[in-house]
Symmetry: C2
Subunit: 489 residues, 2 copies
Amino acid sequence: MKEKFQIYNTLTRKKEVFEAINPPHVGIYVCGPTVYGDPHLGHARPAITFDVLFRYLKFKGYKVRYVRNITDVGHLENDADSGEDKIARKARIEQLEPMEVVQYYTYRYHKFIEMLNVLPPSIEPVASGHIIEQQELVEKIIENGYAYESNGSVYFDVEEYNKKYIYGKLSGRRIEELMENTRELAGQEEKHNNVDFAIWKKAGPQHIMRWKSKWSEGFPGWHLECSAMSTKYLGYKFDIHGGGMDLLFPHHECEISQTVAAFGQESVKYWMHNNMITINGQKMAKSLGNFINLEQLFTGNHPMLQQAYSPMTIRFFILQAHYRGTLDFSNEALQAADKGLQRLFAGINTLEKLKTSDKSTVNINELSSLCLEAMDDDMNTPILISHLFDGVRMINSVAAGNESLTQEDLSKLKKLYGDFVTDILGLTDEKSGLGSDSLLKEVVDLLLHVRMEAKAKKDYATSDKIRNNLTAMGFEIKDSKDGFDWELP
Amino acid sequence: MKEKFQIYNTLTRKKEVFEAINPPHVGIYVCGPTVYGDPHLGHARPAITFDVLFRYLKFKGYKVRYVRNITDVGHLENDADSGEDKIARKARIEQLEPMEVVQYYTYRYHKFIEMLNVLPPSIEPVASGHIIEQQELVEKIIENGYAYESNGSVYFDVEEYNKKYIYGKLSGRRIEELMENTRELAGQEEKHNNVDFAIWKKAGPQHIMRWKSKWSEGFPGWHLECSAMSTKYLGYKFDIHGGGMDLLFPHHECEISQTVAAFGQESVKYWMHNNMITINGQKMAKSLGNFINLEQLFTGNHPMLQQAYSPMTIRFFILQAHYRGTLDFSNEALQAADKGLQRLFAGINTLEKLKTSDKSTVNINELSSLCLEAMDDDMNTPILISHLFDGVRMINSVAAGNESLTQEDLSKLKKLYGDFVTDILGLTDEKSGLGSDSLLKEVVDLLLHVRMEAKAKKDYATSDKIRNNLTAMGFEIKDSKDGFDWELP
């Protein structure tokens, strides 16, 4: 079957039909976190976006190798930095070994991202674990004439590269403007040109994370790890490279240049970028006091939060927007997402109890096609979700007796929600832990049986007491012809 | 205060008072898993043993840096191996990149070890992430004259080392016997002597995990990573090195030799080894069909298991034996541990409800001293647990009105159980998730109130129905003067 899945390719600035290089295998590389701080919303969005891509490709039958890295070294804020990277600075403040900081925040990242039901990637390489591979890449780039050593550091020669290739092809930036606009910063005198960037950096005496090399004791430039690790684990040509839009320039631009300079060809077929997150319309920044990490979101422990929001509410909220659009967090929007998610799972619970007829008055095949079309259209999850809500209305109509379904169509509909809600969107019913807790269920059922018997004996004091108390605890009791039904709303 | 904590030092074969090298800092290095298979009982025991050591030293106020490595490369079964290590072989079978196998089993290790309430270590370095450090160590050892290159591989020269130092000092093995008894295996001809071991191994053409070096494209010998990573993160002299007794020889023996050969001194002050696990008296081995992994234990899904055993039952069972004794797993022993653990937490639950008097007839300070003495005696957790059970008997006597406690003593007793059970032994009440589930509690309380009223009205049919049904669900209903009490046994 011909693939209908279209992906917006940042490189070509248009949607393209996805064609795997070596089907059924697909290689994906996504830029993961720099582990020097707690995971926050800015980590959650790419993790969830590319988790859905991973899940959708697997759903389509591809064998996916998904590589998501951990940056634990070499993430300089700018080249004028004293040579101490973000992780090392944090370590000195806390009087810790940098690797202790790395371990702590990697653990926290895994913990909170897993709560968002993000699947672990196939390989999770760390920058400090690939120093040799990065040094080899530096050697190749020097050999090919696109980098030069200067005072123990090695810089990528952007101007030289641009004579043969195009620096700026991904971001659309023009090198002439970049060369004019790049500010002169302290510590730049080692470079031939301000736009040049470090691929190996000599370590200052205070720098803890350092490795021997033929140029100096130092550490790799930040951009280098992704060129080295993506090609190591996915080959010189692989399918998809993803990341946040904030990484498009300079990180991904430099990554392309390095890979081309080393291997003579680009490695990535489709570049995908998720857009950014704002909080009440503002950029998220520590200085603005609107920096909310995932733990704070899940516990509600932040001055800007009116309540706690569950991991699935956050996941659903993120998926309600298309990944290429900006996404604005607010209490109102999160509360609306929470209600929507509950409505979706209430529909799925109703679906489980539907009775069938000998004919269908609703069109399940059409609904299924629409859901697929939405995902095939550059992972349009908001459209997919709106179709799933149309399906919920259909389910409720069947439950009310206004529409009907055959057994075959009911099975199809259950499969549809299993496929799209559970497998592809990765949403789980957080309430079901309670609702399906067999012990609680048994005890409540016993209590309602006692109530029915009390009513039969006209002992209304007892039956009312039970009903009122259960209602106060949040149970919704529904009397029916056959007896009773109840749920935790 | 003078330290009373005694540790059995495998090196000196006696208990020694623990004296930190740089108090309040303590450095611990423990050999972690080789991630080419699912975590099993053999992984659980060292993880729990050294978790308790980590917890106890922190409880005593030390600042502990606990390094536990992950072996993801270079673990040769023997030097005659074709050059393909365990992880690479598994990868080829599964048609996977070795790092995919590493990621999968590392994830599974973390997941199941965390269920056992083992704290994450401060740093968790991986062998493949420290190739440069290992190569530097090889260079040092060659420079110092204790290793030689042969056909692209580098071997440690045991005989030369033994001229100045003692090879065998940790394990007590004599080099003469080792030289006589080491069998001649294929692929050994590169070595000067059969007891020599590889510190760098040239990779065969089929070997996937390989790195460039001045000797060959290859990979480090298994023993080397621990010498390199322990000294990197803890310094050339650190406090404690732990691991399973199966690692004592050759792994730890070789580790000492490498470190001494490179740095001229031993790095470890106290060597600690946990003993092995047997299953119904037999060694655990895949060929014997008695190989039980942690997931099987937790689910009961193994022909030898009569039931599932919870993570806390496994942890408690392991702690009921001293870490230096062998430990035999059987259904009977695990069921006994499960009962014991329930009795311990039933006591703690009773403790929470104790009423105080104006005088104490029991001696809490003495109990506290006994608990500390047990832990100070080379982490004698079985003795500690027996004292905690004495405390439970004390608690039950106070609850029954046969003994009494002041408010101050009650606070001390609560702190004692918090310190020793929760913080040091790391035991949690798995049932409390249910027992303290406020909704379940409310519903059961309501049901029992209805039952009391039914009894008051002499409606024994209703009150018996409630009681019988709750009992059938596993609740234990206790009528008391004031009303009722219940628990989930």
